[in-house]
């Protein structure tokens, strides 16, 4: 190896760097924890952990009443994670040379390849059931997953043992740590979350994301399906005119509010001119409110609203509407153009699914004589015509449904209403932590176990 490469590798592989990175990691985690006093988890995750450089306000480390000014920049979670990854890989390249030859090395590599293959198969879900329903006990289903990881870990350990001998445990556990780092990056980039709100008896085939909205223009003429055009909230937020041949009219966004509250127009301040000329805007108005930060403990979400001036293709003024989230006290807004009637609906962004879920029954049990919830459970029917699935499953606390790569868990309810709100999460790398847990655990246990045995032997000899 040329000496420059060796030197660089030596620097990158240095344990001093490892220790420094750990220290930085601890600091950013601490900062990202105390920052959650003021901000929601999601905001913090993006500002501290899933970023390369974090801007840290000094005030988060002090009682808020002091209001300490100032800030500084610090490596963000992704930068520290990437550096750790480089550090681990270089350390192994520089220090952990294979300690075997000939058939032993070959056999070891074979085991390592087998273990890696098994790991890959587990990650892509070859051993996962299509419907991992909720009947089973948490104990068994988790044990099965951990056993899969354990299998891979044992194969890899044998491989490492043959190739690296005494250092088998160390190599193995760092491999597992890399898997964990990869999982966090993958989750940050690819995982999606949405919600399903289902009233008893109703079928729902879409999830919504309460962090964004869309303006939907729905033509319900066809008996079999609705013809819907949506304008994403991000376009509404730009404020201006929107023209598209799919739209039956042109839209001019007069005002867009990220968060708002409803009020009666009669309560408007003197001199306020109502932009709305038709529809619900004549009786209700939306008043702009400060943005809710991410997900705070009270689980409040932003309530966006917009004033939209609609103009027909022929240039005729169709009026200005207040586009708002559906609330029970206001009727649905519609518009008629050329003999066709369209529903106008500002709603949380939807993604449609190839399956639908019907709520059969929702239960909310409490402990006797208390308000402490004992259990929330939803009995639902899962229908997917494409895959010939039609079955009843129960979803309850700590017992989600896994289907088609998505996890449905009982997330929320509305007091007094017979409905359930399911959180629907998709994370294709979800088996990685199970694998990593077993691989790192096995590696640590092997390494420390060997140390311990050696120590006890020496002590006995003394």
């Amino acid at each position: 190896m040329p000496s420059v490469v060796k030197k660089t590798l030596g620097g990158l592989a240095s344990l001093k760097l490892t220790v420094a990175l750990f220290a930085m990691g601890i600091f950013i985690v601490l900062a990202g924890t105390v920052a959650q006093i003021d901000k929601g988890i999601w905001t913090v995750v993006h500002e501290y952990f899933r970023c390369y450089i974090a801007r840290i306000d000094l005030k988060i480390f002090f009682p808020r009443a002091w209001d300490v000014p100032g800030y500084f920049y610090f490596p963000g979670g992704w930068l520290i994670g990437a550096a750790l990854m480089i550090n681990i890989v270089s350390a192994h390249a520089a220090r952990f040379k294979p300690n075997a030859r000939g058939p032993r090395l070959g056999l070891g590599l074979l085991f390592l390849a087998g273990g890696s293959l098994l790991t890959w198969l587990i990650i892509i879900g070859v051993f996962t059931k299509e419907i991992a329903a909720t009947e089973g006990d948490a104990f068994w289903r988790v044990l099965v997953r951990l056993a899969q990881g354990g299998g891979a870990a044992v194969l890899l350990l044998i491989g490492c043992g043959l190739v690296f001998r005494k250092r088998a445990g160390i190599v193995l556990l760092h491999g597992g740590v890399i898997l964990l780092l990869v999982h966090e990056v993958f989750t940050g980039m690819a995982a999606t979350e949405g919600q399903m709100r289902i009233e008893a008896g109703e079928y729902v085939n879409f999830t919504y994301d309460s962090r964004s909205v869309e303006f939907a223009i729905i033509d319900r003429e066809h008996p079999e399906f609705d013809d819907t055009v949506v304008v994403p909230g991000s376009i509404l937020a730009r404020v201006g005119s929107i023209k598209d041949k799919l739209l039956p009219f042109d839209i001019e966004v007069l005002e867009f509010m990220k968060n708002s509250s409803f009020a009666n127009v009669a309560e408007a301040a003197h001199g306020w001119v109502n932009p709305a000329t038709v529809g619900n805007g004549l009786v209700a108005m939306s008043v702009e409110q400060p943005e809710v930060s991410g997900v705070d403990p009270t689980q409040t979400v932003n309530v966006p609203a917009a004033y939209l001036k609609l103009t027909g293709r022929d240039g005729r003024d169709l009026g200005t509407y207040l586009a708002h989230l559906a609330i029970p006290s206001l009727p649905k807004q519609t518009i008629s153009i050329g003999g066709k009637t369209y529903d106008l609906d500002l709603r949380f962004t939807r993604s449609y699914k190839p399956y639908s879920i019907q709520l059969l029954e929702f239960r909310h049990d409490k402990y006797i004589g208390t308000d402490t919830p004992k259990n929330f459970s939803a009995r639902v029917r899962l229908i997917d015509k494409n895959r010939n699935v039609d079955r009843v499953v129960k979803i309850w606390m700590n017992n989600p449904l896994r289907y088609a790569g998505e996890t449905f868990y009982q997330s929320s309810f509305e007091p007094g209403e017979n409905l359930t709100i399911l959180q629907v999460v998709r994370n294709d790398g979800w088996m990685l932590p199970y694998l990593s847990c077993m691989i790192v655990g096995t590696g640590l246990a092997t390494h420390f176990g060997m140390n311990l045995i050696g120590f006890l032997r020496r002590r006995k000899a003394e």
Binding site: V19, F22, I41, V45, D371, K374, F455
Partner: protein, 595 residues
């Protein structure tokens, strides 16, 4: 070990078992008196859990009086159940028991009370003034938490005590309705309205279901039912009978009603009577109290062992510690048996468990290195954690029912247990570090050989802590994945656990890289105490996330004091080595050798 000193360990075991035995023999109810203790084993449901009256009595008295017993007018210590029985039977004596702890002078003045030793006052002593402080209490309740001064806090504390007291009494009262009077229906409606109001505040349910399809009900709820249904609960009459007998001081009547009720319960038991009796006995034994007393004795033994006669005294301390560890284990097992949950369901449980883990680790170290360090640290850790547990228990029942999200025995038994073992090991490493620093700086006992041994012990314990905290933390993530499809959510408690893992990893890598030797290792291990305390208590103070169990302000103060103390120890540990007494002693020895 030779001669009589071999008997010392035996002596330790026999003496501790003998002392424990003396605590087991409970004074039964005396013949001819009311069988109050038997009454204490009857079932009820409060805060969602079936428990004996005895538990309610002790926890209520803890809330009101900070004690599990009270002192009667003759100066005799009496069990809580006697007080509870007087309260719930609405006996006149209830108002005269001096049980309300009011130590704040301003509050005493507001209630027209004279300062007195022990600060315990009777209901009747301040009853007249209750109306006067009501507006002040309402005002304090209206204020934001940050705006409340000490008096406001004390007022609210007092108010919750009186409320608890009145609720206990009202839940077991029979409303007075004069059925012959003209406005009987009005009286009834008023009483019913009052009932609905207090029912919302979470009443004790002392009327058990005695047939299929029935539910636990409050006594007063059953009384109202008796007005409208032809066949009220059969449990109502004997209970009401006992209360009346208590009011009238009629022991014979009380005992015969009690016997009647016991027969009724035996025919269709609403809860396992063995578990109820066991719980009452567990309450009586107060095993954690016994443990803490014995831990102090073991600590003293360990200290004396350093002065001389080391081997024999250390053996004695070791076997004493083994006995206490057995008792500590049995007490945790008893909590599992009573609650039906894995050992840790709340902060109290963590304190008891972390102590247990530390003691276990100390005993393992002691079997490997027999020179008293394991004993000493184990006894310190055992005592301190039980002390913390004692303060955490202040607000009542320590065996709680888990709310839905957390109600999963599998994860409580795996993630929670392993992560707390990780806490225990990290704390234990910190304690070892403290001992190392103190021994080196303040005594001459730290020889080169001893320093090496400390290095090995520290290394072993931190490796163990690393393994447990990593597996425990990842298991927590797997719980989140299994329940919510999200492995890591950067929730404060998760972050706290991650910081412990990273800290242990930092220490180990620093050592592997030769950046630190034994002293540096010890100093970093002491800082590990701060990291662990942050995860254990600190993040709960932030008031965010699913993991926070709620907190009291004094916790923050204690936490800051703890952090300050650890920082002081670190500063001591960082003083130049030539100032350490042990190092000076060795240098001098070397000098003499050479000279």
């Amino acid at each position: 070990m030779k001669g009589p000193s071999r008997l010392l360990p035996v002596l330790a075991v026999v003496a501790s078992l003998g002392w424990l035995g003396s605590r087991v023999s409970s004074p039964g109810d005396s013949v001819g008196e009311m069988k109050v203790r038997e009454f204490g084993r009857l079932p009820l449901v409060y805060q969602g859990r079936v428990k004996p009256f005895d538990t309610l009595a002790r926890n209520s008295l803890l809330i009101i009086s900070d004690r599990q017993t009270f002192v009667d007018d003759d100066g005799n210590r009496q069990p809580a159940i006697k007080w509870l029985l007087d309260v719930i039977s609405n006996s006149p004596a209830a108002g005269d028991h001096k049980v309300f702890r009011i130590e704040n002078l301003q509050l005493q003045a507001a209630l027209g009370l004279e300062p007195r030793k022990r600060y315990r006052y009777a209901w009747n002593e301040f009853l007249q003034k209750l109306g006067d402080v009501d507006p002040q209490i309402a005002e304090a309740a209206r204020k934001d938490q940050a705006e409340r001064d000490l008096f406001d806090v004390k007022l609210l504390e007092f108010s919750s005590k009186t409320q608890h007291y009145s609720l206990l009494a009202e839940a077991h009262s029979v409303p007075r309705i004069d059925l012959d009077s003209e406005n009987a229906h009005l009286q009834f409606a008023h009483a019913k309205e009052r009932f609905h109001m207090i029912d919302r505040q979470g009443l004790v349910h002392s009327i058990p279901p005695l047939a299929a399809g029935q539910q636990w009900r409050s006594f007063i709820g059953a009384v109202f039912e008796a007005f409208v249904t032809p066949d009220p609960s059969p449990a109502l009459r004997p209970l009401a009978g006992m209360f009346q007998a208590r009011r009238e001081g009629d022991a014979a009547a009380f005992n015969s009603e009690l016997a009647r009720y016991q027969v009724l319960l035996a025919t269709s038991p609403p809860a396992d009577p063995d578990v109820l009796s066991f719980e009452a006995m567990f309450n009586h034994l107060e095993p954690f109290y016994s443990c803490s007393v014995l831990y102090v004795i073991a600590f003293l033994l360990g200290c004396i062992a350093w002065l001389g006669w080391s081997e024999a005294l250390n053996r004695m301390a070791f076997w004493l510690m083994v006995c206490i560890f057995g008792l500590h284990t049995a007490a945790i097992a008893a909590r599992i048996y009573i609650s039906g949950y894995p050992p840790i369901t709340n902060l109290y449980g963590t304190a008891v468990f972390i102590g247990w883990g530390c003691v276990g680790l100390g005993l393992i170290l002691e079997t490997i290195y027999r020179f008293g360090i394991g004993n000493l640290l184990a006894s310190v850790a055992g005592f301190l954690t039980l002390l913390i547990a004692h303060f955490l228990a202040g607000d009542g029942d320590t065996l709680i029912m888990m709310q839905a999200v957390l109600d999963t025995k599998f994860w409580l038994a795996t993630h929670v247990v392993v992560i707390n073992f990780g806490y225990a090991a990290t704390f234990f490493a910190g304690l070892l570090g403290i001992l190392f620093i103190f021994r080196g700086v303040f005594t001459r006992a730290l020889s080169h050989q001893m320093e090496k041994t400390f290095g090995r012990m520290l290394y072993g314990v931190v490796c163990f802590a690393m393994l447990l905290s990593f597996v425990g933390t990842v298991l927590g993530g797997l719980w989140a994945d299994d329940s919510w499809g999200r492995f890591w959510g950067w929730d404060p408690k998760e972050n706290g656990a991650l910081m412990i893992v990273l800290w242990n990893a930092l220490i180990l890598h620093a050592r592997w890289g030769g950046m630190i030797k034994t002293r540096g290792f010890a100093v970093l291990a002491v800082f590990g105490n701060i990291v662990t305390a942050w995860s254990w208590f600190g993040v709960n103070q932030l008031g965010v996330g699913l993991h926070s169990y709620g907190f009291t302000d004094s916790t923050t103060t204690w936490l800051l004091a703890f952090v300050a103390s650890q920082l002081c120890i670190i500063v001591v540990g960082l003083t130049p080595k030539k100032l350490w007494r042990s190092v000076r002693a060795t240098d001098r020895a070397f000098g003499e050798l050479r000279g």
